[in-house]
């Protein structure tokens, strides 16, 4: 099995610890995305896996082999860099062949491998060109070609799409996904872009301040964030956060805020938390807009309606905090101006401890 296993991985520069003990099991053929804001330690973690940074403490095994003190070239991993690091003085074919030449592969092997990789990535017509004569997307492909030509056990990607424009990024995202399906190589991918994380990953690892906040499938993280950090980091626009208090209602727990109330799911954790200060997490996509006077509706102050074609974003405020609603325009077109509130299914509200930010246990929807 060519998985990667991290046990208590720590990175410290002198007295300053930047990665505080990462535990992670990456399965064979899995595509795992490390995501988090800049400075969260995701790149450092990736570089420790690559062998470009020394591991201060903990254990790293790749394919069952303990590799803490193994040189990068002997770890059988390949990496795609953010700036691609293509050698400007070599043409595409020589860039792809560089690693094979260094490893003294035979000429025939090199030629056939380069051809094959060129084929896979659609680079065959460009093999004689220098990187300077390529488009951004083509350079990106050469960088991937240089990684896959060695048939490593693990691919590492360090924000490979961040230098591309939005349109190309979407396109390359799909290509990386296809490539992974085709080659089936274990991949670890670092990005700060949650859309990339959501679309590419088999599992997402959300990192923050050198720690893992949550690990799970994209939908699991989207629906059941473990804490307010994950909740507000994933999803665009992010989850709305509403400060509230749980009180006992006629039919079960109810969240009270700003003189309004919302019924919550009837689960033990919430029923037992009456009187507790909490933060409600409400996804902009999960609410139903309501016009004036709809029964059971939560009222918000609407500032602005942005129509984006098929959907609209309603920017409002609730208790002085921003509150965003995302709704389809179709069917609501006539009433967009009249909207003053929303309704939501109790099951779709996530309740977090106001102090720790952790989700109260027992909530959740299976994706």
């Amino acid at each position: 099995m060519s998985g990667v296993s991290l046990k208590g991985i720590i990175k410290a520069y002198g007295a300053v610890q930047v990665v505080h003990g990462i535990d992670l099991e990456v399965q064979e053929k899995e595509f795992v995305v490390l995501v988090g804001p800049s400075g969260c330690g995701k790149s450092t973690t990736l570089r420790m896996i690559a062998g470009l940074e020394e591991i201060s403490d903990g254990e790293l095994t790749i394919d069952g082999r303990f590799v803490n003190r193994v040189a990068p070239k002997d770890r059988d991993v390949a990496m795609v860099f953010q700036n691609y690091a293509l050698y400007p003085h070599l043409n595409v074919a020589d860039n792809i062949a560089f690693g094979l030449r260094i490893r003294k592969e035979s000429k025939e092997t090199i030629a056939s491998s380069v051809d094959e990789v060129g084929e896979i990535l659609g680079l065959t017509p460009y093999l004689d060109r220098r990187p300077a004569d390529l488009s951004g997307g083509q350079r990106q492909r050469v960088a991937m070609g240089r990684a896959i030509v060695r048939r490593p056990k693990v691919f590492l990607f360090d924000e490979p799409l961040s230098n591309l424009d939005a349109k190309l990024r979407t396109q390359m995202r799909a290509e990386i996904k296809r490539l992974h399906k085709r080659l089936g190589v274990t991949s670890i991918y670092v990005t700060h872009d949650q859309v990339e994380a959501m679309t590419l990953a088999d599992r997402i690892v959300v990192m923050h301040d050198g720690r893992i906040e949550q690990v799970g499938s994209p939908m699991d993280l989207f629906l059941n964030p473990a804490n307010t950090f994950v909740a507000s980091f994933l999803g665009s626009p992010p989850m709305n956060m509403v400060k509230a208090r749980i009180v006992a209602g006629d039919q079960g727990p109810v969240a009270e805020f700003d003189g309004q109330s919302l019924p919550l799911a009837q689960i033990p954790a919430l029923q037992n938390s009456v009187g507790k200060a909490v933060t409600l997490g409400i996804r902009p996509e999960f609410v139903t807009v309501a016009a004036n006077g709809t029964p059971g509706c939560v009222n918000v102050d609407v500032d602005l309606v942005e129509t984006l074609g098929s959907e609209a974003l309603i920017h409002a405020s609730l208790q002085g905090d921003p509150f965003v609603i995302r709704t389809e325009t179709l069917g609501h077109l006539g009433m967009l101006g009249d909207i003053s509130g929303f309704t939501i299914e109790p099951d779709l509200i996530r309740v977090f401890d106001a102090e720790s930010g952790a989700a109260l246990p027992g909530q959740g929807t299976k994706s």
Binding site: E54, D57, E59, F66, N68, R69, A71
Partner: protein, 331 residues
């Protein structure tokens, strides 16, 4: 063997493997880490060693040899066996008219070079910037940079030829105006003007590159908005160009003062003669004559040490000031 109740049938080999594995997995100690680093990066140190060795042999070893300044050096005994004499050589130096004259001349020539030589490249750069005709500008720059690349012997040769009393162009031109020929290079009062003028002629063009680069960094929109405001070219020079390159000017001035003692003595050796020692002899030419030509290594070494220490203090002061200045002025 089987009397051990804990014996579970595990083979010795697997036990050894396990122990080895455990040993391998334990956190490496400090020395082991350095070992790991060297094992991985030894080639880097191999690349560094020749340069470091060279520095030690050719530049640091002579620094150790500076002790000659405190010794009564004898070629036959060698440096190590020569007796210590303390500050005797320094006392001799500061009672030596020739040395004191050289010291005065060094300072005098440096000051002259600074006062007349420092503004020239700045003026040239500003003037070059005001030239709109690109071909003219390129050609002029190509020509004025050239003397920088010409050896001091050739420059001295040109100066000697041009100022020669019989054939030189300077005296020829003076003859047209009915002036008597002057043998400039034997007249001590003419040495400094000729020397400073030559070095300005040789270096001003090339030194303007630094200022031209600073000017190139000025945003064109500043000039465009000045034009819209109705400023003249002359006003733009004083209100935009000069203030914008002021930080560079100040840094260069500090560096220049730091290197004040570095009078190009090679050129002086080529141009001076006993008749002009009075105004031309500087510390380094004094060292050259006393030490290399005269064999008084210890006395000349003491003069060299004095020179090096003063230069070092000047350079370090300049460095500190320029670092502080560039930090506060840029951020």
């Amino acid at each position: 063997m089987s009397s051990d109740p804990n014996f579970t049938g595990q083979s010795t080999e697997s036990l050894v493997t396990e122990a080895k594995e455990a040993l391998r997995r334990r956190k490496p100690g400090r020395i082991e880490r350095v070992g790991d680093h060297l094992k991985r990066e030894w080639q880097l140190y191999l690349l560094l060693i020749p340069t470091i060795l060279w520095l030690l042999v050719f530049l640091y070893k002579p620094m150790y040899g500076l002790q000659i300044a405190f010794k009564d050096y004898s070629v036959f005994r060698g440096l190590a066996a020569s007796p210590w004499v303390g500050f005797e050589h320094f006392q001799t130096l500061f009672g030596n008219d020739q040395f004191l004259r050289a010291l005065r001349n060094t300072i005098y020539i440096s000051m002259l070079s600074l006062i007349f030589g420092f503004p020239m490249p700045i003026i040239l750069a500003v003037m070059f910037n005001e030239i709109l005709h690109q071909t003219f500008k390129k050609t002029a720059q190509t020509i004025v940079y050239l003397p920088h690349f010409i050896s001091s012997v050739i420059i001295a040769g040109i100066v000697i030829t041009a100022f020669s009393p019989s054939a030189g162009i300077v005296n020829t031109v003076m003859g047209w105006f009915g002036l008597e020929p002057i043998y400039f290079l034997t007249k001590s009062e003419w040495f400094r003007p000729i020397f400073v003028g030559t070095s300005i002629w040789q270096e001003a063009g090339f030194q303007s590159i630094v200022y031209l680069a600073a000017i190139a960094g000025i945003s064109p929109t500043l000039y465009e908005s000045a034009v819209v405001d109705g400023a003249s070219r002359w006003q733009m020079v004083w209100k935009i160009t000069v203030p914008s390159i002021l930080p560079t000017i100040i840094i260069m001035l500090i560096i220049r003062i730091g290197n004040m003692l570095e009078v190009s003595f090679e050129m002086i050796i080529l141009l001076y003669q006993p008749a002009t020692y009075e105004t031309a002899d500087v510390v380094n030419t004094f060292i050259y004559r006393q030490g290399i030509q005269g064999g008084q290594y210890d006395l000349a070494g003491a003069a060299g040490l004095f020179n090096a220490v003063v230069a070092f203090v000047l350079v370090m002061t300049a460095n500190t000031i320029s670092k502080r200045y560039s930090r506060t002025s840029l951020w």
